[in-house]
């Protein structure tokens, strides 16, 4: 079980996270919605340790993982894999090597530096790529793939870490609707079959509704909604997005331009 207690993060004067507390049971798929700047990314990065919190802590299976350093923190990162909006694959490496990069924590550094991978590891990479439907492209260079394909390779790289938690930071924000659904279905399938907990930031409320067990709404660094998709009604959407008829216009409300326009007109858009 993942437990977040009173987690805070300040950037100068801004409070990106303002005392967030929540628990995620093993095997849950949680969608986090909210406007740009609500603290969704900071929350995920705080869990993974990419951002050091200013206050509070993250506990996993009884251990305070936010206090871990060095080798122990790297091991924690191996156990909570990260997926990014821009996929963050290495363009000039083929799909296979990109996926095998996810094994680093399981093997010795010199062997990885020489790119020596065992038959078992290669088989695991191929099997994982079959799982996300990308095995046919196993020897293709990463930058020859479409966005949706790259994100599925990134999911395979995360899976091969043998993680217990997957943190996905806007994984579908750069994808068209068809590929977006495909990526979320892949994550959902992994969540069901492997029992891996998934925490997912999404811009579109409908996507979160369709694929998640539980939805968190964030606003100004705080959790303002926590419930099932059914419980997410117009009133709670208004609380998250602060707009009338939020159910219809919520997705637009979270684009940077709209958030900027709220903050101070045209000047903020620039």
């Amino acid at each position: 079980m993942l437990e977040i207690r009173d987690l805070s993060k300040r950037f100068g004067q801004t409070r990106a996270l303002d005392g967030v507390s929540l628990q995620v049971e093993a095997g849950q798929m949680v969608g986090i919605v909210g406007r740009s700047g609500a603290g969704k990314s900071t929350l995920l990065r705080g869990i993974n340790g990419l951002t050091t919190p200013s206050g509070g802590c993250v506990r996993y299976a009884g251990v305070d993982v936010s206090a871990l350093r060095g080798r122990h923190r790297r091991d924690w990162r191996r156990r909570c894999a990260m997926i990014f909006q821009q996929f963050n694959l290495v363009h000039r490496l083929d799909v296979l090597t990109n996926v095998l990069a996810g094994r680093v924590a399981h093997r010795s550094t010199p062997r990885t530096l020489c790119k020596l991978f065992s038959r078992r590891e290669r088989a695991l990479a191929a099997l994982t790529l079959e799982r996300v439907g990308m095995a046919e492209q196993i020897l293709q260079r990463a930058d020859t793939l479409s966005g949706g394909q790259q994100q599925r390779v990134a999911i395979a790289r995360a899976l091969i870490q043998e993680p217990e938690v997957i943190l996905a930071d806007e994984p579908i924000a750069s994808l068209d609707p068809h590929n977006a659904s495909l990526v979320l279905e892949t994550l959902r399938e992994i969540n069901r079959h492997e029992g891996i907990s998934v925490l997912l930031n999404v811009h579109t409320v409908e996507m979160a509704r369709a694929h998640c067990d539980r939805i968190l709404g964030m606003r100004d660094g705080r959790v303002v909604f926590d419930g099932t998709p059914d419980e997410l009604d117009e009133r709670s959407l208004a609380a998250i997005y602060d707009m009338p008829r939020a159910a219809e216009s919520a997705p637009e409300a979270s684009t940077p331009a709209a958030a900027g326009a709220d903050a101070g007109g045209l000047a903020a858009v620039n």
Partner: protein, 295 residues
Amino acid sequence: MALTAASITPEEMDRLQANYPRAFKRPWWEQARQWAVWSALLAFVGYCLVRFDAAPGRIWDGLSELGVILSAMVPPTFGAAPSGLFWALLESLTMAFLGTLTAALLAIPLGIMGARNIIPNWVFHFVLRRHFDGIRGIDPLVWALVYVRAVGLGPIAGTLAIATSDTGTLAKLYAEAIETADSGQAEGVAATGAGRSIVIRLGVLPQVLPVMLSNALYMFESNTRSATILGIVGAGGIGFELSDRIRAHRWDEVGMIIIMIVVTVALIDGLSHLIRKRFIEGGKNRPLVRTDEAT
């Protein structure tokens, strides 16, 4: 159903290897080709060493002779006319500065003309680019020899030598930078009804100016070093003093000149680092590999 390395059965591995053979082992001809390339490289290095008669004994003797010269440089002295050395060094610096500046400015129009995405005529592009290659293919030292004949001994010859050689190099680098510029930004300017020169000025140059400045600075650093050499062929600067002392075996003064050159080059490197920080990086300085956040 778990996806773990430990749970894969041998049968599963066989099936995967049969389906994706190249993911497990590269075909024999690829491996053979790799071996051939490495063996050929090694053989060539060996052949060169034999041709140069690079026997270990010879290199060892040479190194001990070098030791004798180095010990003769200690302690370094300024010799009879210290101020002469300082003026000569300043002259080298001025040659590097004027030469690089001239080249950096001349290379801007040439670089724009040489960019394939600005003038998409391949004949023009090919001819112009080969001219750049020709100019920069000749070392500044050779240009210096030519200019010493043409304009006489002194720093003018050195400045022209640097300017000529670097115009070719910078024009090529600028042209390549412009070719990698994002066409979307230029399109954004063109869509407002701007003409060709405005599109270049507002849509292309802002993208490539940091690269241009960075390249020019690098050339200035590099020229500070090469300007110290040009004097050897009579093109002005500290190089003349240096070769003069070497011929006369006044190693203690050679030592001092080398120290002066090293200090100057280090100062120029430091200066250009400051300029780079101020104008090119624009305040952001994100580490490439970050495993921890500084708090």
